[in-house]
Amino acid sequence: MTSQDQALPDLLSGPKALIVRDALLALKRPGDVLNPLFFFAMVAALFPLAVGPSEEQLQLIGPGVLWVAALLAMLLSLNSLFLADYEDGSLEQMLVSPVPLPALALAKSAAHWLSSGLPLVLVTPVIAMTYQISLSVTGILMLTLLLGTISLSLLGSVGAALTVGLHRGTALLSLLILPLAMPVLIFGARTVSLVAAGDGVAGGLYFLGAYVFLMLSVAPFATATALRISNE
C-alpha cells in the first residue's frame, strides 16, 4: 500500500462524516426540513387561490408554478446552510482541517440537497396531482426538479458562503442567487411545459445534466474560497 492509498480514505472520511452529521442534525430538528416543504406547498396553493380554479389554466401554469415554488423553497433553506456552523465555530474547524476545503464544501452541498432538495422532489407528485398534471408529465417534472435542485444546492452554497455572517443576509442571498439560477428555472420549467404539450424531452434534460456537472466542477471551489474570505 502506497502512501497515496492511505491518504485516500482520509479525503473521503471527512466529507462523509460531515454529511452524516448534517443528516443527523436534520433528523433532530425536523422543522428545518419540514418548513421549506410547507412553504413549497403553500406557495403552490396560493396560485389556484389567486388565479382561479380553472382546470385548464392550472394545468398550463402548473409546471412553472411548481418550479418557482421549489426555487424559492430552496433559497429559504440555503440561508441557514453555514449559519449554525458559523455560530458554533465548527466552520473554523473546517477551515483548518487537513481535508481540502472544497471537498467539505461539496459535502455541505450534498447534505443540503439531501435535506431540502430531495424532499421537495418527493412531495412534488402530491402537489402536481392537485394541479391535474398527468402522471407521465409528473415523472418528467420530478426528473427536472431532481437535476435542478442539485444545481441549486451547489450554486446556492456559493451565495450562502458569501453572505454568511452578514446581517440581513436573506434578501441579499436571493439577490445574488436568483439571477444566476435563471437558466435552471428556464430549462426546468420549459422542459416540463414542452412535454405537457407533447414535445420531446431530451434537450432540456441534457442541459440540466450538463449544468449539474458544470456546477460540480465550479461551485465547491468558489464556495471554499468564499468561506475563507468570509471567515477572517
Binding site: G169, L180, F187, R190, Y211, V218, T225
Partner: protein, 250 residues
C-alpha cells in the same frame, strides 16, 4: 513592458497618469459620437422596413455592447485582483460595476422605446436580448449589493470577486438559455436589425458610435477609478503629500 504595467498598477502613478489619459479618451470619444450622431440622424437613409425608428440602434447597440463588455471587464479585473492581489484591479472592478449598470439600464430603456413603435408594446418577454439584458442588470445589482453589505474594503473586494467570476461563467449560459426559451415562444415576428447586408451609410455611423462609446466609457471609468483609488489610499503618505501640495484637485 512588464515594468510599465507594474508601474501603472501602483496607485500613485496610476492617479497621475489617469488624469492625463482621461482627455485622451474623452476627446476622440466625443468626436466619434458627434460624427455618429450627426450621420446617424441626418445622413443615413431610413431603413426600408423600420423607417426612421431604426436610428435608435445608434445608441442602443453601443450601450448593449458596453453593458456586456463591462461585466467581462469587471470579472477579469476582479479575477486579477483575487489571484495576484493587485489593489488597483479591485479598484477597477469596484468602479466598473455602477457604470455597467447604467449602460445596462440605457440598453434596456432604449430597447424598450424601440419596441414601442416596432412591436406595439414597451416590453416584450419574447425578445431574448431584452430579457438577458434584464438579468444582467440584476447581476450588477447583486454584485453592488454584496459590496455594500460588507464593511471591510478588502473583504468586500475578494467576496465580490468570487461572485463576479461565478457570474461570468453564467452570463453566456443565461444568454443561451434565454435564446432557447424565446425560440419556443410564438412571439411577434421580430424585425431583425441590420444584418451583414447593411448599407455603408448606415454602418459607418454605427461603428463610429460603438468606438466612441467605448472611448467615453474608458474616460468615465478612469475618472471613477481615480476617485476610488484616492479613497482607498486615503491614509497613505502619497495622498497626504498630494493634498498638502494642492495639486491633486483635478
Amino acid at each position: 513592458m512588464w515594468k510599465f504595467v507594474h508601474k501603472l498598477a501602483s496607485p500613485p502613478h496610476f492617479y497621475h497618469i489617469a488624469a492625463n489619459l482621461i482627455s485622451w479618451f474623452a476627446m476622440p470619444g466625443l468626436l466619434l459620437i458627434g460624427y455618429g450622431t450627426y450621420a446617424g440622424l441626418f445622413v443615413a437613409p431610413p431603413d426600408y422596413q423600420q423607417g426612421d425608428a431604426f436610428r435608435i440602434i445608434y445608441v442602443h447597440v453601443p450601450a448593449a455592447y458596453l453593458s456586456m463588455m463591462a461585466y467581462m471587464a469587471m470579472a477579469i479585473s476582479a479575477g486579477i485582483g483575487l489571484i495576484w492581489r493587485i489593489k488597483l484591479a479591485h479598484a477597477v472592478a469596484a468602479a466598473v460595476a455602477p457604470l455597467g449598470a447604467w449602460f445596462t439600464f440605457l440598453a434596456l430603456a432604449t430597447g424598450s422605446i424601440w419596441g414601442r413603435p416596432m412591436w406595439g408594446t414597451w416590453w416584450e418577454w419574447g425578445d431574448p436580448r431584452l430579457t438577458s439584458e434584464l438579468v444582467l442588470l440584476f447581476l450588477y445589482f447583486g454584485y453592488m449589493a454584496l459590496r455594500n453589505a460588507i464593511d471591510s474594503t478588502s473583504k468586500a473586494d475578494r467576496a465580490s470577486a468570487v461572485l463576479a467570476l461565478v457570474g461570468a461563467v453564467n452570463v453566456p449560459i443565461i444568454h443561451f438559455s434565454v435564446e432557447w426559451w424565446s425560440s419556443l415562444h410564438q412571439g411577434p415576428t421580430l424585425v431583425r436589425q441590420g444584418g451583414p447586408a447593411m448599407d455603408t451609410a448606415m454602418l459607418y455611423p454605427l461603428l463610429a458610435m460603438i468606438l466612441g462609446f467605448t472611448f467615453i466609457f474608458g474616460a468615465l471609468l478612469l475618472r471613477r477609478v481615480r476617485a476610488e483609488v484616492l479613497y482607498r489610499e486615503r491614509r497613505k503618505r502619497w495622498v497626504r503629500d498630494l493634498i498638502l501640495s494642492g495639486k491633486g484637485k483635478r
